[in-house]
């Protein structure tokens, strides 16, 4: 970026600066013996053109909206349209969640994001013995198309975009969404949204898996293939670093492991006979925004550049849309404290700001009471207002990539990319992400432990935990899920089973069982099955018969 002579002269004056710096430090020692980012990257006192002497603007940054997309995926980013403000919501029954959705849409939220309860995420109906105590707790309980119809009642599916946090049974929930849309008179080509559909991070970090990796990958590539023809605007996967980070990884590991998972999906789809440019433009990503402000901004920029290179160079994708890493961000749940919870509002605001400065397409801001309970109406509103203040009041979206060219940000972006690439190389050597699950688990576990020990030693300051502790008032009005949800849900399920055409259900499930053992695309069979009101549990049980279940290797 700089002329050689200019660099020489900067180098000369830097020498003089360093002498003055040393004298200063000798006189007055610095706050800490050394400074590092959360990923352990050493932070210098000052960054100068020397630190990015090799940076080539056209090669490494380029212009927003073009390769390698370091500065963003659109030419004018937020000057055109702000990011989608998408608060994740779901609890209790479909009726209650529908009411929360309508409330959020009235308050100016621009996209829906559905949280499902754990039984739904693991493919059990609400009356399954393993679902006891869990129904409606961390999300909404969906047993059948009937629940999905209630969930979206009065919400025009051609007008909103919906993100669904569902992985192992993602294809089935998508089939339900398509069926609900059809009932509303909305054709699949009008649907916008995302299913998370990222099974690898479930094995690595989040735990809501059902089937072994092989059949799970097949369900994912079936969705890619089906949607590329029938639901062209749907984001068929959201390759998620979020949970990897929540499980304790560093920012560098988050980028590395997420992109390694991405590589595995692209490879699986290519191996299944798909053309990379047919599905790659619909791949999307999901990252965490943690507290180390500049490192997070650099992380998003590094991830975007690295993915562009991977798609172009490694997979030979030709369509520029295939090179583009588009992502949703959620602020870091694990950074929130139960102590002095109002301080979480500030933490979340800074994290959200880093996501916006990093160029996110969509954002969820956490509510201040989330270390205590599911968010209440009041806390979720403050979280949404946080995004609106960033979007409408402080002007950070008025120019594109405002920190681009910062010596520190560019140096950090380079360093994160390099270190992430080294991890990807290591994962390649292990045979790719599905083979490297335990390696990644161990790396994450070690980082989580180090982070906790840094807090306990006071090396890492957390206000309210190891510094500035005080008595504080606990928030009132914490959301409590009605324990009667499970009974209501079970009663509904029984009524449905008595009412539906059970002969038809048997038939669609038999068809599914047969197709599952062939290579046939299962999406049309899921759509038939959900329309016949076969339950999620019945459909998943049918697949369990054919695919078997995943057994976790305990890494500890």
């Amino acid at each position: 970026m700089f002329e050689k002579e200019k660099l020489e002269s900067i180098r000369a004056s830097a020498k003089e600066y360093r002498e003055r710096l040393e004298a200063q430090v000798k006189k007055r020692p610095e706050r800490q013996a050394g400074f590092v980012t959360d990923s352990g990257i050493e932070i210098k006192t000052l960054y100068t053109p020397e630190d990015i002497a090799d940076l080539d603007y056209e090669r490494d940054l380029g212009f927003p909206g073009s390769y390698p997309f370091t500065r963003g995926v659109q030419p004018n980013m937020y000057r055109g349209r702000l990011w989608t403000m998408r608060q994740y919501a779901g609890f209790g029954t479909a009726e209650e969640t529908n009411a929360r959705f309508r409330y959020l849409l009235e308050q100016g939220q621009t996209g829906l994001s559905v949280a499902f309860d754990l039984p739904t995420q693991i493919g059990y109906d609400s009356d399954h013995p393993l679902a006891r105590g869990e129904v409606g707790k961390v999300g909404v309980a969906i047993d059948s198309l009937e629940d999905m119809e209630t969930l979206f009642e009065g919400i025009p599916l051609d007008k909103v975009s919906t993100s669904m946090t569902i992985n192992s049974p993602a294809a089935i929930l998508l089939a339900m969404y398509i069926a609900v849309a059809e009932k509303q008179g909305v054709t699949p080509d009008k649907l916008n949204g995302t299913i998370q559909n990222d099974i690898l991070k479930e094995y690595i970090a989040r735990g809501t898996y059902i089937f072994p990796p092989g059949p799970s990958m097949r369900l994912i590539t079936d969705v890619f293939a089906y949607c590329s023809k029938n639901v062209p605007n749907w984001n068929t996967i959201s390759i998620s670093g979020y949970h990897i980070r929540e499980a304790g990884s560093t920012a560098v590991q988050e980028v590395a492991f997420t992109l390694a998972d991405g590589i595995a999906y692209v490879q699986a789809a290519i191996d299944a006979g798909l053309n990379v440019d047919d599905f790659a433009p619909r791949l999307s990503f999901f990252f965490n925004a943690h507290l180390n402000f500049f490192e997070e901004i650099a992380k998003f920029r590094a991830a975007r550049r690295l993915w562009a290179k991977i798609m172009k160079e490694r997979f030979g994708a030709k369509n520029p849309r295939s090179w583009m890493l588009r992502f949703h961000t959620q602020t870091a749940g694990c950074s929130l404290t139960a102590q002095q919870p109002m301080v979480n509002i500030m933490r979340t605001a800074f994290e959200a700001l880093s996501a916006v400065l990093g160029g996110t397409q969509s954002l969820h801001t956490n509510s201040y009471d989330e270390a205590l309970a599911l968010p209440s109406d009041e806390s979720v509103l403050i979280a949404l207002r946080t995004q609106q203040v960033i979007g409408y009041e402080i002007g950070v979206g008025d120019t594109v990539d405002p920190l681009g060219g910062s010596y520190y940000i560019e140096s950090l972006t380079n360093e994160i990319e390099e270190k992430a690439m080294a991890y990807i190389k290591k994962i390649d050597e292990l045979g790719g992400a599905p083979e490297a699950i335990e390696f990644m688990q161990k790396e994450i576990k070690d980082s989580a432990y180090r982070y906790q020990m840094d807090i306990e030693s006071g090396k890492k300051v957390v206000i309210g935990i190891n510094k500035f502790q005080m008595e504080y008032e606990k928030p009132k009005n914490l959301l409590k899920v009605d324990p009667a949800v499970a009974e209501r849900q079970t009663a509904k399920l029984q009524a449905l089973k008595a009412r539906r055409d059970n002969q038809k259900v048997k038939q669609v499930l038999n068809n599914l069982r047969e197709a599952a053992s062939t290579k046939e695309n299962l999406m049309p069979l899921f759509i038939d099955a959900v329309k016949a009101y076969a339950t999620l549990g019945e459909i998943c049980d049918t697949l369990r018969e054919v695919f078997g279940e995943y057994r976790q290797q305990i890494v500890f």
Partner: protein, 141 residues
Amino acid sequence: MSERPIRVLIAKPGLDGHDRGAKVIAQALRDAGMEVIYTGLRQTPEQIVEAALQEDVQVVGLSILSGAHMHLFPAVVEGLRAQGADDILVVGGGIIPDEDIPLLKEAGIAEIFGPGTPTTEIIRFIREEVAKRTQKEEGKQ
């Protein structure tokens, strides 16, 4: 008195997959010299009781963030009692609302450690409680 290390089972009951806390605690207890067994995810109360007996542990640590603790924590204590293993110390952690804590203690969970608890505090509690129980046992003999 023998210096047998304290044996602990760390368990994740229910369907919740968030095991960062469980793993961090397991490693901290191990670093503090205890023998630690981690069950992995998705354990039923029955499986946890069985593992506790089989591994002959003195302590069971339960971790849950999904809100299913009122159903799953007491079930573990009851299961242990039914097997005559009520000398095993049961502690819990995770996102547990304040108003649930007295109820869980009544059900026999010795202590609940909320978010932000230093591992040193958990280690201290376990050591003290196990020492008390050992003394009681020795007193009986």
